[in-house]
């Protein structure tokens, strides 16, 4: 025996915590020592009793819901507390994901405070969409599947494109609620990163060029065409984000001709 305490040795032996040499040595000892053999039997019985009488517990469903809900709200507020310099450009570019939101009325677009509130919503929506099971309601890389899915769900038909050839494939879409109205959310990808696209009609047909903001560590673009107002929010690098926005605007222009 290595130490004088047989119970310690025995427990370590039964728990499989002795190395092979000590294990062999202890097994030899067990054959010779009636006291230790008796203790072993008692320990084995104890272990069996514990497992029979003290069950592992299952977390109540109520707790599962509580935990998930609190995590999501905490994660949301963590994101909104993030300040741009704290994130760092390089990490943003690496973990790029992109939300394009085509949003809102011109009143919102021209009201700075309302716009900030909207960008908050856009960002929240982006974060929420990245959680498991929240990204898409319709999953398809075929825009002819995604576009009709919105029929009857929205009072407009969103523009849906596939930029797979340019490296921004379509993943699907879902409904969102932004600026007090339902909007279309479209999801694109960029390499391993996500791109979400949301859009809704512009109310007065006033156009607005792309505006960009850095919001809580994310990159947001927004513009208004005669048809739609768009918002883009992303942690993707600005070069790729702008490229994506340019493609979208060009596709929109071409579609109007």
């Amino acid at each position: 025996m290595i130490h004088g305490n047989p119970e310690l040795q025995l427990d370590a032996y039964l728990d499989g915590e002795l190395d092979s040499r000590d294990t062999r040595e202890f097994e030899r000892h067990l054959k010779e020592c009636r006291e230790c053999a008796r203790l072993r039997d008692a320990r084995v019985a104890l272990s069996a009793a514990i497992r029979a009488e003290l069950p592992g517990l299952r977390a109540p469903d109520e707790l599962k819901t509580r935990v998930r809900t609190s995590l999501r709200s905490a994660a949301g507020s963590t994101v909104s507390r993030l300040q741009w310099p704290a994130v760092g450009w390089r990490s943003l570019a690496l973990a790029a994901s992109l939300v394009l939101v085509a949003a809102g009325s011109w009143q919102i677009a021209t009201d700075r405070t309302a716009r900030e509130a909207l960008s908050e919503q856009v960002l929240t929506s982006h974060v929420r969409s990245l959680m498991p099971g929240h990204l898409t309601d319709v999953v398809s890389s075929d825009r002819h599947t995604v576009k009709p899915w919105f029929n009857g769900k929205l009072d407009f038909s969103p523009s849906v494109y596939d930029f797979a050839a340019q490296g921004y494939p379509l993943f699907g879409g879902r409904l969102e609620y932004l600026g007090d109205r339902p909007v279309a959310a479209l999801v694109y990808g960029r390499r391993q990163h996500l791109i979400n696209v949301f859009l809704w009609p512009a109310s007065r047909g006033e156009t607005e060029g792309p505006g960009s903001t850095m919001h809580q560590g994310y990159h947001l673009l927004h513009w208004t065409t005669p048809q739609f107002t768009y918002w883009v929010v992303s942690d993707l690098g600005p070069a790729e984000l702008n490229e994506f926005a340019r493609m979208l605007r060009e596709a929109d222009s071409a579609a109007r001709l």
């Binding site: 119970e7 003290l54 592992g56 299952r58 977390a59 109540p60 973990a95």
Partner: protein, 176 residues
């Protein structure tokens, strides 16, 4: 936190919700307290997730249970749920337990006690090693990670906790 991280975080910690609840339940000995502790612990874990990712190859279960454990101990201190219980003293408690001789305890015992009651009466530092070893099947090293003590301490606490429980079991058997 980058948004993708919440998904990653949930994938790492949510599978251990039952284990977290079990530990919290045995440590607090109250269902509602256990739920509050678990919720609190998950929020703390979210906050510390950056640190966990820093430790490459880290085990999500040990990491999470360590937070659950510390949260439960904080609660205990805050709400005095072990009111009247002496602060845990490694030496004192260990010696008390070491004195226990199963046979003399057996002969001297007059009351039969269930294993569950016996576990509840253990100091939480002993209770947790039983739960982590017997119910979660953790190694001494993992238990050490959760409880923040060296492996040797895990070994001696576990052995002494079992000796105490064994007394209850002997009494139970003798009562037939």
């Amino acid at each position: 936190m980058e948004p993708n991280e919440l998904g990653r975080f949930e994938a790492i910690v949510l599978p251990h919700l039952d284990a977290a609840y079990t530990l919290a339940r045995y440590l607090t000995r109250h269902e509602h307290d256990a739920q509050d502790v678990v919720q609190d612990a998950y929020l703390r874990a979210l906050k510390y997730f950056e640190g966990f990712r820093g430790a490459e190859g880290g085990d999500g279960r040990s990491w999470l249970l360590a937070i659950v454990r510390n949260t439960a101990f904080t609660w205990r201190r805050r709400y005095q749920q072990e009111a009247g219980a002496a602060e845990f003293d490694e030496q004192l408690h260990s010696e008390t337990v070491a004195e226990v001789d199963p046979e003399s305890e057996l002969l001297g015992a007059t009351a039969r006690e269930s294993l569950h009651q016996a576990l509840d009466r253990l100091p939480p530092e002993f209770r947790e090693v039983i739960v982590l070893r017997e119910l979660q099947g953790m190694s001494y090293k993992e238990i050490g990670e959760v409880t923040g003590v060296p492996t040797g301490t895990v070994m001696s606490r576990l052995s002494r906790a079992r000796s105490r429980l064994q007394r209850a079991l002997y009494v139970g058997q003798e009562g037939r």
